[in-house]
Symmetry: D2
Subunit: 437 residues, 4 copies
C-alpha cells in the first residue's frame, strides 16, 4: 500500500458559515453557482509547491522550524519524489486540481546543468504519472533564477554573458517541463533582475538584455507550440533594491517598449502591490484595463512591514475588491489564484498547512460572494456610471471622439457658467461597499 | 525712482568655499568652466514664482506665517504687479535669468474665464516689459489645474466634461503666455489627475481622457508654433491617493500607450522620487536612458516623512548623483533646474529667501564639481564598464545582437563550466563615490 | 421659529442590516444590549466640531470646496453662533449627545487674548444654553495651539518664553470652558510640540518645558476642581517632522519621566497609529495594559499614504480589533469615540455629513457586535490563554513570582530535554477572527 | 609557522585624502588629535564577528555566495578555531583592538546545553590566548537568542516557561564569557522579543516576563562582579512584526517602568533608527539627553527599503550628525562603534572585507573631523543657543524654575504684546552644516 502523508486529515468538505470546524470550508462550495459560474470555475485555486512543500520556516534571523514527518530536510532525488507524492495527496484532500512549481523546488540542482535537467525529467515523469487519471495540472511553472549564487547579479540582467546563456537554458527546460505536464501558464518573476546600487550598474544595458531574453522566450514558446500564457510578475524590490518589473504600470511600459505586449500578461501578487505603494485592487485594475490581467498570487503582506511576508490573505474587504476586478475581467482563466503564501515560521503543526489553505480559500470565496452581490445589487456600479454620464453625450461624447481641439474647447469654456462638479460621494460608495461584506 | 524690495541685500557674489558669508556663493561660480562648459550653462537655475512669491507658510494645520513688506496678502491685480517686480529684483540679485510660473500664481482668477484671461494678459505684459533688455526668460510655464474647487475631481480626468473643456481652455491660454514670454518649456503636473478611491472611479475612462487631452495639447503646440518642450511631471500621490503619472516608468508607459512619446519629456522632481519609493538618481536615470530627461525640479523631501516637503536640496551626495545623470545626459538644455522648493514655514526673514536659494545653488554647484571629478578621474565609470565586458565580444556580443535563441544558448550553457560571476564591488564603488565628494 | 439647518434630513433611525437607506443605521441600535451594556454605553460617540463644522475642504494644493447653506465662510462671532446651532441640530438628528471642540474652532480669535477670551465666553454661553434640557455635553475640549503663527515653533516647546506663557493662558481658559460645559475630558494634542530639524533644536530643553507645562496643567485642573480626565494624543509627525508624543509607548515613557503618569491618560487616534508604523489595535493594547486607555479618535488613514487623511473608519476588521481592546478595557467611560474624521474634500453635499457619520457609527457598532461574539464564543481567548499555560504553575509560576535567578534557571535548563515550543497557530487565530466578522 | 589568512593584504595605513589606494585610510589617522582626544579614542571601532566571519551571503531568496579560502562552511569546532584566528589577523591588519560576538557565532551549538557550553569554553579559551600580549578585547558580547527554533516565539517572552529558563542559562553563560575575555559591555538585542500577531499574544504577560528577565540579568551581573555596561538594542521589527524595544524612547519607557533605568544603557543602530521612522541622529539625541547613550552599531540601511540591510555607513552627512551627538556626549567609552554591517551578498572578494571596513572607518573619521569643526567654529551651536535665550532670564527662567503656574502665566499673557517668534533659520542652519562637510 501507499504511504499516507496526512493520515489524520480527511477530505475537506463544505460545512457552511456556521461551522466551527477548522478543517472544513465555511464559504467555499465548489459546485455552487455564483454570478453565472460555479465557484470552482471563478476560483481556479493552486497550491504553491515551494511554500507548502519546501518552506522550512527559516528567515534572515532564524533556522528552519518545520519538521514534517515525511521530510528529512535533504535535497535528494528520493526526497523530491516523496514531496511530490505529498503534494498530490494534499491537493486531493483540499479538493484542488492545480499546483505551481519552480524547476529547482521539485527537483534537486545537479553538479552540472545536464544533471539538473536529468533530475528534473525524473520528477516531472513522476508528477505526470501522479496526474494520470486526475484533472490535476500545473496552473503554471517557472524557473528558479534567483537562489543559486550564479544569479546573484541577475539572470537575464547579469553583467556576465555566461549567466544569461545559463538562464536561457534553464527557462527553456522549465517551459518544456510545464508543457509536458499540461501547464496552462508560465511565469517570469525576476527576483534578481534589478540592481542593488546604481553606482555599479549599466541600467540601459541590463534592461535591453531583459527585453531580448523575454523576446527569445516568446519565440521559443511558439516554436514548441506551448500554448500557455506567459506571465510577468511585478515586484518593486527584495531581494534587489530595485526590481525592473516594479509594478503593473512599469511592467506594461516595459512590454510596450520592447514590443512584447501581445506575448505577455501579468501575474499580480497582492503582497507585491503593497510593497510598491499600491493596493492590490489598484494593481489588478491597472492590469485589467490594459488587457493583461492573467493570474493572481493570492497572498497578503503586512501593511506596516516593508518586506514580503507572503501571508495567507484573509481580509474579506480586500478579497472582495480582488473579486470585483476578477468578475469585471470575466474571470482569470486560463489563469487562476495561486496561493503564493507561506505558513508563519511559528506554525509548525501539519494541520496548519490545511488550516491556512482553507482560510485562504474561504476568504476568496467570501470575496466572490460579496463582489457578486455588489454587482448584482447594482448600487455601486451605478454610482460610478452616473458620475461619468456627462461623457455619454453632447460635449463629453465629442471630447471622447477626439473631434474637439483646444480652440473649440476654449469656445465652450468661455460660453459656460462656472462649472462646479458634483459631490464625489466617496463615503456613500464606501458605505455601500462595506454593507455588502 | 523704483521701489527696492530687498534694500539690504546686494547682488550675491562668489566668494569661494572658505567664505562664512551666508549671502555669498561658496561653490557656484557661474563663469567658471567645469567639464567643458560654464557652470551657468550646466546649471540653468530657475526661481519658482509660486513658492518664492506666493508661498505664505500655511500648512494643513497652520495659518500663513510670512509677512513680506511688499505683500498685503490679497489677490489683487496691483499686488500681482508688485510681486512680479519683486521677482525680477530677486532674480537679478541672485544673478539668475530663469523663472517658472503657473497662470494663477502670477495673475488673479477672475469671476469668469474671460476676466481671468484678461488678468493674465496684463501681468504677462508687465513681465514681458520687465524682461526687456535682459536675458531673463521663463524656464517654463504651466496652468494651475489643482487649486480651484472646479478641479477637485481632476481637470483632464474630471468625470464632468465641462471641467475637461475648461481645463483645455486654461492650458491653451497658459501655453500662449509661455510662448509670449519666450519660455523654453511647458509643464504638466497632474496634481488632481488621479483618484481618491477606486470605488467611485472609472479608471480606464479617466486615463483615456488624459491621453486625449495631452494629444490635443501637443497638436495645439504645433499649431501655434510654440517650440518649447512639453514636460510631464511625475508624482505618486498627494493631493490624490494615486496620481496617474506615478513615477518616470509609469509616465513613459503612458506616453507610449497613447502615442505621445515623441511629444513629451519628463520633469523629474527629487521629492516626488522619494515619495514614489525611488532615489532621485533612479528617476533621472530611467528618464535619461529612455531619452526623456527634460528638466529637474531641484528640491528634496524628508526621507522619513510621507508628504511633499519641497525643501531646498542641500545634500551633496544626492546633488552629486543628480549631476552624474545630467552630465551623462549632456546637460538638460533647453531644460534646467527649477527650485520648486519652499522656505520652511518657520523661516520668516526676507533674507531667508536668499539664504535658501544660495544654499540650493551651491549644493548643486558642488554636485557638479564632484560629478565632473568622478567622470574625469574615471575609476567609477571603469568599474561599471568592466563589469559588462563579457557583452562586448564573443558570446555576449552575439546575445546583444539578438542572433542567439534559447536553443543555441542552451548549447552554450551545457558546454560551459559552472559560471560564477565576479564580485559586484559595491563597497568599492561607494568608497570611490564618497571619496570624491 | 428657529432656522432648520438640515431640513431634508429626519432623525436617523435604526433599520437593521437589510436596509438600503443611506440615511439609516444598519448596525447601530443604541438601546440594544451587547455584552452586558447598551450599545450607546459602549459606544460613547462624539462629533468633532472642527471637522464637521469648520472643515472647508481645503488641502495643501487646493482651496475650500464646501459651501454649506448656513456658512458664509467668515470667522465672525455671528457665524460662530450659527455653526454652534447647526452642531446641536446635527447631534440631535444623529441621536448623539457628545461633541468635542477646540477653543478657536467654536469662537473667533480676537485682536488680543482678552478679546479672544471674551469671544469664547459668548460662544460657550450659547452652547451651554443649547445644552440645557438635553443630555448633550462635550466629550472633551481642547485648545488650538498649532494654527496661529505664534505657535509655529511650538506652544509649550516654543523657544520663545512668551509663547509658553501665552499657551498656558489659552489652555487655562479652554479647560475652564470645558468645565463650564460639563465636559468629561480635556485633550492635549501637541501638533507643534516637536521639531522640524535637530540642527536648530535644543531637544532636552524643549522636552523639559513640555513636562513643566503639563505638570502645571494638572495642578490647575486640581485647583479648579475640574474632574475630567486629562488626555495626551500621540502622533508621530505632521505638521512637525517629529512630534514629541510620537506613539503610545513614547508618551507613556514621557509621562513616567516627568512624574505625570497618574495625571494623564491617552487619546488614541487610529490614523496616528498607522503613521507611527503601528496598527490601531497595537496602540490601544499598549495603552490598555499600561492603564492609560482613555479615549479613541475614531478615524482611519490610508495604509499607502504618509499623511493624516482622517477618513471615517469603515473597515470592520479594524473596528472589531478596536472593540476587542475596548471590551477588555471594560469600556472607555468617561472617554468615548470622537469622530476626528473629515469628509473627503470632494464630498460636497450636506447629506454627506450624515452619511459619513452614519457609516462610521455603523462600522464601530458592527465591530462591537463582532468583538462581543468573539469573546462570548471563547475560542480566540482560549487560544491565547492556553499558549501561556506553562506560566500558570510550576517553573513558569516561579519565574513570574521572581523567585528564580539566573543560577536556578540554568540548573533547570541543564536538566531539561531540548524544549521545542508548540505551534503559534496564527493562521488558526486569524481564521477564527475573520469567521467572526 | 602560522597560516596567514590574508596573505595579500598588508597592515592598512593612513595615506591621507589624496590617496587612491582602496586599501589605505584617507581620513582615519588613529593617533591624530581631534577635539581634544586621539581619533582612536573617540572612534573605538569594533569588528562584528557574525557579519565578517559568519556572514555567508544568503538572503531570503538566495543561497550563500561567500567562499572564503579558510572556511569550509561547516559548523565544526575546528572551523570555529580557524575563524577566530582569522578574526585576530583581520583586527591586526586593520589596526583595531575591539571585536563583538554572539555565543553561537564563535562556537557551535551542541546537542545539549552542556555541550554548547563546553564548545563555547573552548573557543573562549582560544580567543583569550590570542588576546594575550595584545590590547585586543571584546567591545561587547551577547547571546544569540533568535536563530534556533526553540526561540521562535521569543526567548524571555516565549509563551513556554522552559524557553525562558533556557534563555536565562544562555545569557548567564554568555555574560561569563564576556567577562572572561575582558569585554566592556554586554548587549541585549531582542530579535524575537515581540509579536507576530496580537491575536495570539498576551502582550502584558510577555512584557512582564521581559522586565523580570532583565532584572535577573542585572542582578547576576552584580553577583559575578562583571563591570561592563548592559545595553539594550532597540529595533522596531524584523524578524518580528513588532519588537518590544521598538526605538530609543520605547526602550527608555520600558526601563523606567520596570525600574531598570540605572542598570541599562542603549546600543543605537543607525539602520534600526531608519526602520523606526527616525534619523539615526534622532535616536542618538534621545538617548544622549536621557543619559543612556552607550554604544553605536555603525551601519546604515537604505532609505527606500523596509528591511535591515546592514550596509556600511559611508554617507558623510550622516556620520557628521552621529559624531555631533558623540562629541556632545563626551564620547562613548566604555562603548564604541561596532561595525554591525555586512558585505553585500554580491561582494565576494576577500579584499571586499577590508575595503568595506576601511570605507566605514574613514566615513566615521570624516564625520568626526566635520563635527569637531562645527563645534569649534561655533556658528551652529550659537544659532541654537540664541534661539532659546528668552529662557535664560526673566520670564523664561521663572518658567524653567517651575515657579509660575497657569494663573501667573495668564497674567503675563494678558499683559504682553502679540508675541510673534523669530525665524527658525532652518535653511541657514543647514547651509552652515553642509558647508562644514
Amino acid at each position: 500500500g501507499e504511504v499516507e502523508f496526512f493520515p489524520n486529515i480527511s477530505k475537506i468538505e463544505y460545512e457552511g458559515p456556521s461551522s466551527k470546524n477548522p478543517l472544513a470550508f465555511k464559504w467555499y462550495n465548489p459546485e455552487e453557482e455564483i454570478y453565472g459560474k460555479k465557484m470552482k470555475d471563478w476560483l481556479r485555486f493552486s497550491v504553491a509547491f515551494w511554500h507548502t512543500f519546501r518552506g522550512d520556516g527559516s528567515d534572515p534571523f532564524g533556522s528552519p522550524t518545520k519538521q514534517w514527518p515525511w521530510d528529512d530536510g535533504t535535497d535528494s532525488l528520493e526526497m523530491a519524489f516523496t514531496r511530490m507524492r505529498a503534494n498530490f495527496e494534499f491537493l486531493k484532500k483540499l479538493g484542488l486540481n492545480r499546483w505551481c512549481f519552480h524547476d529547482r523546488d521539485i527537483a534537486p540542482e545537479g553538479r552540472t546543468l545536464e544533471e539538473s535537467n536529468a533530475n528534473l525529467d525524473k520528477v516531472v515523469a513522476l508528477a505526470k504519472q501522479l496526474q494520470e487519471g486526475t484533472d490535476i495540472r500545473p496552473l503554471w511553472g517557472t524557473a528558479q533564477l534567483f537562489k543559486h549564487p550564479r544569479y546573484m547579479h541577475g539572470a537575464a540582467t547579469s553583467p556576465d554573458a555566461r549567466i544569461y546563456a545559463y538562464a536561457a537554458a534553464q527557462v527553456k527546460k522549465a517551459m518544456e517541463a510545464t508543457k509536458e505536464l499540461g501547464g496552462e501558464n508560465y511565469v517570469f518573476w525576476g527576483g534578481r533582475e534589478g540592481y542593488q546600487s546604481l553606482l555599479n550598474t549599466d541600467l540601459e544595458r541590463e534592461l535591453n538584455h531583459l527585453g531580448q531574453f523575454l523576446k527569445s522566450a516568446a519565440e521559443y514558446k511558439k516554436k514548441i507550440e506551448f500554448d500557455g500564457v506567459l506571465l510577468i510578475e511585478p515586484k518593486p524590490q527584495e531581494p534587489t533594491k530595485h526590481q525592473y518589473d516594479w509594478d503593473a504600470a512599469t511592467a506594461i511600459g516595459f512590454l510596450q517598449k520592447y514590443g512584447l505586449k501581445d506575448d505577455f500578461k501579468l501575474n499580480i501578487e497582492c503582497n507585491h502591490a503593497t510593497l510598491a505603494g499600491h493596493s492590490c485592487y489598484h494593481e489588478l485594475e491597472v492590469s485589467r484595463i490594459n488587457g493583461v490581467l492573467g493570474n493572481i498570487d493570492a497572498n497578503t503582506g503586512d501593511a506596516q512591514t516593508g518586506w514580503d511576508t507572503d501571508q495567507f490573505l484573509m481580509d474579506i474587504a480586500e478579497t472582495t475588491q480582488v473579486m470585483l476586478s476578477v468578475l469585471q475581467n470575466g474571470g482569470l482563466a486560463p489563469g487562476g489564484f495561486n496561493f503564493d503564501a507561506k505558513l508563519r515560521r511559528e506554525s509548525t503543526d501539519v494541520e496548519d498547512l490545511f488550516i491556512s489553505h482553507i482560510a485562504g480559500m474561504d476568504a476568496m470565496a467570501r470575496g466572490l460572494r460579496n463582489a457578486a452581490k455588489i454587482l448584482e445589487e447594482g448600487t455601486l456600479p451605478s454610482i460610478v456610471k452616473e458620475r461619468y454620464a456627462s461623457f455619454d453625450s453632447a460635449l463629453g461624447a465629442s471630447i471622447e471622439s477626439g473631434e474637439l481641439g483646444f480652440e473649440e474647447l476654449e469656445q465652450e469654456a468661455l460660453r459656460m457658467e462656472e462649472p462646479l462638479p458634483a459631490s464625489g460621494k466617496q463615503e456613500l460608495a464606501e458605505m455601500v461597499f462595506y454593507n455588502s461584506i
